[in-house]
């Protein structure tokens, strides 16, 4: 069970890493227009 002493701090760090990713996603507006992006692939460039 000693491995838990390593894994738990690692998990905590992982949470912060993932939160960083989510922060990026929110700040760049990834969640703002959920419908339109799906249809953009059908548009001509």
């Amino acid at each position: 069970m000693e491995i838990a002493f390593l894994l738990i701090p690692l998990a905590v760090m992982l949470v912060f890493v993932i939160l960083g990713g989510l922060w990026w996603a929110i700040q760049t507006g990834q969640f703002e227009d959920l419908e339109e992006e799906g249809s953009r692939i059908l548009e001509q460039d």
Partner: protein, 766 residues
Amino acid sequence: MTDSLTAGNTNPWQGLDVQSEWERFSQRHTQEPDIWTSHVWVDNMHCAACSGRIEQSVKQMHGVLGVHASAASKRVKVIWDANVVHPSQWFANLNAIGYPALPVNEYHAVTDRTRDQRKMLWRLVVAVFCMMQVMMYAYPTYVSDSNDITPDMIQLLKWASWLLTLPVMLFSSTPFLSQAWLSLRQRQLGMDVPVALGIIVAFVISTLATFAPGGWWGDVTYYDSLTMFVSFLLCGRWLDVKLRNRTAGALENMMRRLPHAVLKKNEAGEWVQIAASNIDVGDVLYVRPGEVFAADGKLIAGNTSVDESMLTGESEPVLKSTGAQVIAGSGNLTSVVEMQVQQVGEGTQYHALVNLMASASTEKPGIALLADKVAQPFLWGVLLAALFAVIFWWTTDPVKAVMSAVAVLVVTCPCALSLATPAAMLASAGTFAKGGVLIRRLQAIQALSEIDTIVFDKTGTLTENLQQVVLLDSHPDWNSTLLLNLTATISRDSLHPVAKALYTFAKKENAAEHLPMQDWQEIVGGGISATLVTQDQQSIALKLGNASFCEVHTEADAGVQRLVYLVAGHTVLARFGLSEQTKPQAKAAISQLISQGYEIQLLSGDRIAAVKNLAAKLGIQVALGLQKAENKLQNVKALQQQGRKVLMVGDGLNDGPVIAAAHTSIAMGTGVPLTQAQADMVVMGNDIGVLVSLISHCKKTILIVKQNLLWAALYNAAGVPLAIMGLLPAWLAGLGMAASSLLVLLNALRLTKWQKGVLAERAKVA
């Protein structure tokens, strides 16, 4: 491309080419001072193909660095270089390809709102993510025997949980903490005070238990209860912010009424383009057909028909000749005129109406305040109960004392007051929004469930603004197809609503519109004259217009609102009748509402005969014509004095004050944005049938709110005594709170099913 660039003097957007003007809808690039990002709104961009065409066309322009068109929000973002290109050029380009654009003046407001929404989502994401992790760390201590985990491991889990609770505490819960602090500073007890108190106490106790276990505070932590609690609350807040933004955004998408640039006569007598904000009293402005008057004033040259429907709510165009008064916000329909400005900005009638609406809206009884008033005693009760628990247990067991208090705070706060009502209302509001009904105030749901009287406006609400055309009779010697062809050709180029209606009618009957015609002329207040050239080079003088213009006898009422003649010389070739068309669902909706026991009234600014006629057709008992805004307001106030709760369903701007004074109000989506901004609900479509199911769904919503409140009351009645007695550990209180919230939410979710329209409602009755 070059065509639009050299649009020159005729480019109506030149007024935007001043930096102070374009700054209103653009943002400077952070590094390059000449690069700007502008946001414009394109009304008729409906699909992905439209946005593709826009992007393609504007991207080709020299000096345009990037274009992004979004069909969903009807917005186009253009990045451009001020050294190379000016806004008027790409505005002209958009116009040339068939997508007239408007600057989004509220650009900054939009970004503010987006920022708010992002921040709230970010708070929620942080709270939920940390909550999940904290739960995971809390789980072992709940399920294992005390011997299964080593004390070291428990300590490690506590530290990890503390670390993960820190962002929730310092960042996610700041809205509650700051709100609580604000209301305390105003010496009021807000809903957030017990919430904040619970959060802080639980965190402090848990922190002490983590880093200095063994004091009077014991060694039990409550990070899981705390984070879950904050997550649930934020969930509600985020839905609320999102819903409000969506409603506001949709309203903003409506046309701005007044023009941004106008043509003004300078000292030299030349027409120059100036920004609308620079108009002064005494200026002479040049107004083309299809444009909107930017200020109040009088006509000094030209005659025209004016569309004042935005201000009066009625569709009939008004004839204005030289010397007549015109008002800002009304539309010039038929010919070029010059006007002298007498009032600008705040002094105009347009602004007066806006201000009238604003003042009427402040008279509104605040149901929100009432809810706060009911909440006050409850909140005091909660705090007193918590205090009682502390005092009761302190001498025997300080830990138990504090934790009982926290249990009281946690077990009570969210479900009963913070969640029960908004959860149900938000569920309904979201459902309505999907079905095309926007809600500005959540209280409107309650208000709508209480009404007993419905006052309708006529035009645009019960009837279509478009005029319905019937061919009454035609000359026996003339082929009716030929007559329709003539009508289509002669009416094709006119902007007058009647001519437009006739043209649409003829086209629907498959009429051709390319007969050889000469000397086409439109006479204001009369009609159109033209000369038809036949195949054997004969000329026939044709006229399309009203009786006096066509020199025929005025007839008695033919059962239509307006008669239009097509004559050749003095021979009447055809007679058209025009009338307003009743909306398809109107009759069914009205009879349903009457059968459900609602008192229905019709108040309209239109002629009495037309109003009575429509009322008889729809089965409405009380109908009044020639009603101005003040009359309508008086009528509604009189009804309210009889103790009636009035729902106002309106459309035009002159309904604004009435809409604000009524118990609650609904605006049909074709009306002006200002009215909609005042109305509690906005029906985006044109379908009046929605009304019946809307009211019944609101009643259902209130029923579910009551169920939720009853459940919460029972839960609190059981939970609080248990918590005070110390029988409820904080984690169980948290769990009870969560389960209770979940139950409330699930109950509210039943409201997401809404069958729209009068037909669905009828099916249910049958």
